[in-house]
Symmetry: C2
DNA sequence: GTCTATATTCGGATAGAC
DNA sequence: GTCTATCCGAATATAGAC
């Protein structure tokens, strides 16, 4: 039943290279050479370079969104159906930031890959992004319940801003460290999540 | 004295294609064909594809940063040397958002190109990014003067978050419109700037 | 400055032996 | 499933005529 080692090896290697350099800048030859597998293996197992990218995106985004949905669901359960603003934002950003800065290096690569995949959508991924918007609608609804006086478009704007905070922070780690001359500590994951949630929660007030 | 038409035509065409598809996904052939110039013209005028990208980045980022610095300087002049928080954030985001949503389509392409160039740094651009960090240091200093009780690393974190709000908003226009089902209006530039500044300013409080 | 033609390398994808 | 060998188009870059 075990997946062939080659297939997973290709997925992990492609993910790392895509995360580092982007989709178009990485060739199938780069991937197979780095993985130590045969050149033809990508087309055998996935059909094409594009299909590999799509399979990879699905494999990584699914558990991340599941974790977000779980945290949101738990937050709603804790407070009688209407989650608090901070808890909604926490459900949104904690999973990716924990993957990013947590002890598991593979998960860190995964979230960096995902942020890149969102930014440089290939044809195969563009089609999947509709489902991803559906996932975000849960957060729109939760925010509307938590902040009933805020108009729908205002909820969307601010959710978009909050997503920007998270995406950019994960993608532009180098830039933050250059800007702060290294004074911004990236070791304490939970305090970074708190800082990010606090920033966004204040932005949602009034 | 006038620049040769071909050179500027290449710059404008390359900018548009890079903004739409990214650097690696656009070939010199794509650029010269779309511009209606000879294939060899890119190498004649710029030396290489990478050098074209670098020249383009410099040509666009310079006036944008100059405008930001001017607004910051004016804000400091208006209030006796120490600019107010909202005015600092306004100087940071108003120029790119005005380029993005203003009446000049060429400037809109320019800011989309720039956001992509920051995200997918080529070797030539990476070297230039140090100067760009120096430009951002003015904003760190201004924020530190406006918020003397905030620690240096906290200033950097929140400035980074504010940059994320702007970068992601400009880059992920499609995603915002899909998320909000079109209810987020992108026509009123100044009200979008106010919304963005307000969100970030609240995030800086306390 | 602009063109054609070309050198040379690399790209994704596949056929067919094992 | 994995390998070698290869097809064939596309990539960057340049040489040399005009």
């Amino acid at each position: 039943m075990a997946e062939p080692a080659t297939k997973d090896l290709i997925l992990d290697t492609a993910e790392r290279l895509f995360a580092e350099r982007g989709f178009a800048a990485v060739s199938v030859r780069d991937i197979t050479a780095a993985a130590g597998v045969n050149l033809a293996a990508v087309n055998y197992h996935f059909g094409s370079k594009d299909a590999l990218m799509t399979a990879l995106f699905v494999a990584r985004v699914t558990p991340l969104n599941r974790e977000r949905a779980k945290l949101l669901h738990e937050a709603e359960g804790r407070s009688g159906g209407v989650a608090k603003l901070e808890d909604i934002l926490h459900a949104l950003v904690a999973p990716p930031v924990r993957w990013w800065l947590g002890p598991d290096a593979a998960l860190s690569v995964s979230v960096q890959f995902l942020m890149r995949a969102y930014a440089e959508t290939t044809p195969g991924i563009r089609a999947l992004l509709e489902q991803d918007v559906a996932h975000l609608q849960r957060f729109v609804l939760a925010l509307a319940r938590a902040l009933p006086r805020l108009a729908h478009d205002e909820i969307c704007w601010r959710l978009h801003f909050a997503l920007g905070v998270m995406h950019y922070t994960v993608s532009e780690r180098r830039r933050l460290q250059a800007l702060s001359a290294g004074s911004c500590d990236l070791k304490n994951t939970e305090s970074i999540i708190r800082r990010m949630v606090a920033f966004c929660a204040k932005g949602f007030q009034i």
